[in-house]
Amino acid sequence: MQAPVTNSVATDRALRQSPLGVARVAVSALVLLRTTPLLSPLHLLFLGDASPLLGWPENGFSFAWLPPGVVGALCVLRTVGAASLMLGLWAAPAGLLVAASGLLVAAQSPFGAPATLQLLYEAAALLGLSDASAVIALRPTPPRSPRSSSSLLRVFVASVYAWAGLFKWRPDWLDGRTLAVLHDSGAIHGALADWALATPSSRAFLACGVAAFESVIGPLLVWRRTRRRALVAAFAFHLTLEVTAHPDLLGWGMMALLVCFLD
């Protein structure tokens, strides 16, 4: 017979989920910022399609395979799901709703879900199905499996870095050609980028450095001994990318998820 859980033990368990709760609020807020016109006053280029809601059906020719009314309803459901997840109301179905409706809307475009949306939607589902709603929630759920909840989100973040790093072990990335193309096209820009990518050798050096960083940062984050320094490095990495490449809201999404590594 299991010993009854005292209030202090339950509170302690719940508080240990605080990082997950913060990540849940941050990720769902990013979903709302990316898929609604909330940030339209900033006139950010990559948010031009978020009005009235991202993926809202428009008149004229379309690649969509769902009727416009259904697509519109999915856009509304995605928004409701994200708001519910952020507030901590029925977080598990809310997270699944965000992921399912978001990915279905994205599938109506020939280009599918870009990396930012894939990250946010998958994270929303995982956070909803974890103990992220045990804290900072209007309707908190009792902690169900705190250890595996934290592990799930940490492994997810580590896997994103691992796959990204794996793809870069190619000659055309490692010799700096891809960085040169991205720089010439304006995808990477600014004084810092101009300086760092000025010569073929600096481009190759940076390319190898990024590939190596993404390949090792996941295990370094997971391993307790190196976690603190790895967190600092990871935040610095994403902030640098924000300055030089403005990669949609991807960097902010990753930084929101890095909170899961805080003890």
Partner: protein, 142 residues
């Protein structure tokens, strides 16, 4: 016991989700050649170009600019077509190639031509040879 059993159930679910989201989905995307769901973002030097030739009912042939086609579209399709008269850096060419027939249909609808030929050129990475995909279709009129 109920609590412990429930906890074990959730732990099992988390393991399944970890395998699915962290391994299966990215691996499947990598194996199907696209890599779109394998976190390959901003690591490609692929580029693409679109060329469109239309023939009107009088038999006149003319080039149609992808930017002109972009003006008839919205969202990320408009963004992908704009400026695609010359090679544009981005992976969008792969998605367009997969839907080139539908894209030709779109050209028909936008140009009111009798016949269209659409050519999509893709370089998979910087310095790679150009891969051409061409489709032609007669435009049906009601």
């Amino acid at each position: 016991m109920t609590g412990a059993g429930s906890g074990l159930g959730w732990a099992f679910l988390h393991r399944v989700l970890a395998v699915l989201v962290c391994v299966v989905i990215p691996a499947q995307s990598w194996l199907d050649g696209g890599g779109a769901r394998a976190w390959t973002m901003y690591a490609r030097s692929a580029s693409y170009r679109v060329r469109i030739v239309t023939v009107d009912e009088d038999g006149q042939t003319r080039w149609m600019s992808p930017s002109e086609l972009a003006a008839h579209s919205t969202g990320d399709l408009a963004s992908a077509l704009g400026g695609a008269e010359t090679f544009r850096v981005g992976p969008q060419g792969f998605a367009l190639r997969a839907r080139v027939a539908t894209l030709a249909e779109f050209v028909c609808a936008s140009s009111h031509a009798d016949h269209v030929t659409l050519s999509l050129s893709i370089r998979e990475r910087a310095g790679a040879p150009i891969q051409e995909t061409t489709t032609s279709r007669a435009c049906r009129r009601p």
